[in-house]
Symmetry: C2
Subunit: 380 residues, 2 copies
C-alpha cells in the first residue's frame, strides 16, 4: 500500500479540506491517506474550535484513513518547526508523497531555500523588524518573489525541511482553492477555516461550506474555545511568578518577561493584554504561542527534550492495514492508548495541553482515550 | 488619646461586630478604636465577600476610627501566626488594650500557654492526627479545659503571642454573643459572618442581623467570590508546574505536592478537588490556605522575608489624630498610598493577592488606591 500524507489542523474540517483530500488521492493514486493533525491548539497558539478527537472523527468520516496527532511541541511553533515536525512523522510513517496547498504552486521553492541560508548568515542584523519581514524584502529584491501568502510560506518550509534532513518525501504543492486564509466572509461552497469559525461565532449558517458531519458537530457547540477563557490563568502566572521564573519559559526572551508581566498587571481582558504587549518586533502569532507556552509553563529544556511520537487519533480499515505494514519500521513510538506512565514521560506536554483544554470541555483528552475507529469499510 | 485594638475580618460587618465594638469602648473608655483587618482573603484562605476597601468603609461607618490591613502573609495563617501578626501591628500602633470575643472569657489563657510549650517538646510524635487535636486531648486530661471553640483558641493565641514577645498589651476576652461561629442559621438580631454569607448566597434577608450599610453593600452583589472561580488557576498551576517547583511553595510539605497534583488532574470542580486532597492529617483550613499560597506562588523564602507594615485602609478624624500621635514612634512603615515601587517590595504579597482578587471585581486593590476617609466627625 502506498500512502499520501497531509499536514492539517482541520479547525474545523471544511469543503476546502475535502477538495484537497480528493485532489491528493487523484494526483498520487495512493491507497491510503495519512493526516498529521495538530492537537488541541493551533500553530498560532489558539485553542481549536473542537477537540482533537472530534476533529479526527470528522477527518475519518470524510476520507482520511489514519489521523496522527502532531504533538503540541511541534504543532504550536513557527512555520519551519511546524513543517519539520509534521514531515518527520510522515517520513517515519513511510509516506511516499505529501500534498499541500499553496498560493503559488508553480514556484521553485527548493531554490528559494538555499537563498535563505545565505541571507540568515549575512544580513540579519536589524532587530527592529521580524526576521520574516526582512528576509522577504531581500527575497523580492533578488528573485521578484514575495513569500507573503501563508500557504506559500508553509510550502517553502516543507521543501526546506526535506532539504535539511534529506527526507525522500515527494512534495507536491497544489493550487489552493477558494477564499484567502484571512478572508472571514463565506464563499458559496468554499470558505477558510477562520471564516467558518467566525460564522459559527456569529451564529451564521455554515452548511454550504462544510461537510454535513462538521455542520452537525458545530450546531451543538455552546461555548467556543478562546483565549479570553484562559486569560485569568495566563494573567495570574505572569503576575505571581518572579521574572527569573518567567525567563525559564520557552521563547521568553529579549525582555518579553517584563513586557508581559507589566501588561498582565494592567489589563483585565485578553485582547487589551495582547495589544499592550505587541510591538513591531513580534507578530501576534508569536505572542499567542508564547502565551500558550506560559500557561503550560513549558521550559526551554522541556521543549528541547520533547520526543517525537505517533499518537494515533483515528483510523479505519485501510489505516489499520497501513499501520500494520509500517509499524515494525518506525523509529518513533506508536501510541494507541495513553497510560499513566506515558502522561509523565513521552506524552507529557500533550497531556498537559489536554488538561488545559479541559477548561472548554470536560472530556479527558489523553489518558485511556481510545482512538476513533471505523472498521465499516471492511464491508465495502 | 488612648486606643483600643480589635482584630477583625469583618466578612462582612454584622451586628455581632457592632456589639463587640461598643463593649470594647465601654470597657476601656478608649477614645479611639483601631481595627486590624484581614485584606481580601480570610484566615481560612478564602476570598472575602466584599473587597477590603468596602469592608473597611463599613467598619468606619459603624464606629471604627482607623482600619489597618493585616497583610496577607499574616492574615492567611494558622491562628498563632494570625494572632501574632495582628498583635505585632497593634502593639506597634501603641494600642493600650485589645478586646476580643471568646466562648470562655473566664479561663486563665496565660496559664494554658505554658502547658503547650511543654507538650510540644515532650509528646508530639504521633503524625496520624493534627497537632491541635493531640494537644487538646492532653489539655483536657491535664486541666479539664477543652480548647475546641474557635474564639477560645484565638484568645489563647493572643495570650501566647504577648507572652512570647513581651508585648505590654492588655488583653481583654469578652463573652461572645449570639450564634456559634459555625451556625449558619440566622438568629433574630445576631448571626455569625458565615451565617450572613450563607444567607446572601441563598438570597435570604439579612437586614435584621447586619447594620444598614452592610445590607446595602450586599444587596448589589451579583457574584459571590468563591474558590470555584479560582480553581482553573489553581488546577492549571498544580498540573503544569513540575513537582520540584511545587515543593518551593510555602507549606507544601510532606508530599502534599504529589497529592494535590494528582487530585488536580482528576477533579474538575473545587469541592471535589478539596475532598480528594483531604486526609485526617490536614484540616480543610490548612488545605485552603495552601491552595491560596499555590495560586499566589508564594515561596517559603518570600513568606519568611515578608516585612510587617501598616497599610491604612480607612480613617476618620479621630483615627487621623491618633495616627499623628503615634506615627513618629512606629517601627514598621506607615503606608497610606501604594506606589509602583512598593508593589514590588514591601507590599508585594498583598499586591499579588489583590491582583488575584481582581477575578471577582475589576477594582485595582492597591496601587494608587487612596484610603477611605470620613472627616465629617470634625463637625461633631
Amino acid at each position: 500500500m502506498e500512502a499520501v500524507g497531509l499536514i492539517t489542523e482541520y479547525n474545523p474540517f471544511h469543503n476546502g479540506h475535502l477538495y484537497h483530500l480528493r485532489i491528493a488521492k487523484q494526483l498520487t493514486n495512493a491507497q491510503v491517506v495519512v493526516a498529521v493533525m495538530s492537537g488541541n491548539f493551533t500553530q498560532r497558539g489558539e485553542p481549536t474550535i473542537l477537540d482533537k478527537w472530534e476533529r479526527a472523527k470528522l477527518a475519518l468520516e470524510n476520507g482520511v484513513d489514519l489521523v496522527i496527532e502532531l504533538p503540541v511541541f511541534d504543532a504550536v511553533q513557527p512555520g519551519q518547526r511546524f513543517a519539520t515536525g509534521a514531515l518527520r512523522l510522515l517520513n517515519d510513517l513511510k509516506v511516499k508523497t505529501v500534498v499541500f496547498g499553496a498560493e503559488h504552486p508553480e514556484w521553485d521553492f527548493a531554490r528559494l531555500s538555499s537563498f535563505e541560508q545565505k541571507f540568515r548568515h549575512d544580513n540579519f542584523t536589524d532587530y527592529r523588524e521580524t526576521f520574516a519581514t526582512q528576509f522577504n524584502a531581500a527575497l523580492v529584491a533578488k528573485t521578484g518573489i514575495s513569500l507573503t501568502n501563508p500557504n506559500d510560506i508553509l510550502a517553502y518550509s516543507y521543501f526546506k525541511a526535506c532539504q535539511e534532513h534529506g527526507w525522500p518525501l515527494e512534495l507536491v504543492p497544489i493550487k489552493r482553492q477558494g477564499k484567502d486564509y484571512h478572508d472571514q466572509t463565506l464563499g458559496v461552497n468554499l470558505a477558510s477555516a477562520s471564516g467558518v469559525r467566525a460564522a459559527v461565532k456569529a451564529g451564521q449558517p455554515i452548511e454550504n461550506v462544510v461537510p454535513k458531519e462538521t455542520a452537525r458537530a458545530l450546531v451543538g457547540l455552546t461555548t467556543i474555545p478562546s483565549w479570553q477563557t484562559l486569560y485569568p490563568i495566563l494573567r495570574n502566572h505572569l503576575i505571581q511568578a518572579p521574572v527569573n521564573e518567567l525567563q525559564k519559559i520557552y521563547q521568553m526572551t529579549e525582555g518579553l518577561e517584563y513586557r508581559l508581566k507589566e501588561a498582565a498587571q494592567h489589563e483585565l481582558d485578553f485582547q487589551s493584554f495582547l495589544h499592550a504587549a505587541k510591538t513591531k518586533r513580534y507578530t501576534f502569532a508569536r505572542l499567542l504561542r508564547l502565551c500558550l507556552y506560559t500557561v503550560l509553563e513549558i521550559t526551554t529544556s522541556q521543549m528541547e527534550n520533547a520526543q517525537p511520537h505517533h499518537h494515533v487519533l483515528a483510523f479505519n480499515e485501510r489505516g489499520q492495514e497501513y499501520l500494520h505494514q509500517v509499524k515494525k519500521k518506525l523509529q518513533y513510538p506508536l501510541i494507541t492508548k495513553v497510560d499513566a506512565k506515558m502522561k509523565d514521560h513521552v506524552l507529557s506536554l500533550d497531556y498537559r495541553a489536554g488538561k488545559l483544554y479541559q477548561n472548554f470541555t470536560v472530556v479527558e483528552q489523553d489518558v485511556k482515550h481510545a482512538p476513533v475507529i471505523d472498521l465499516s469499510s471492511k464491508k465495502h
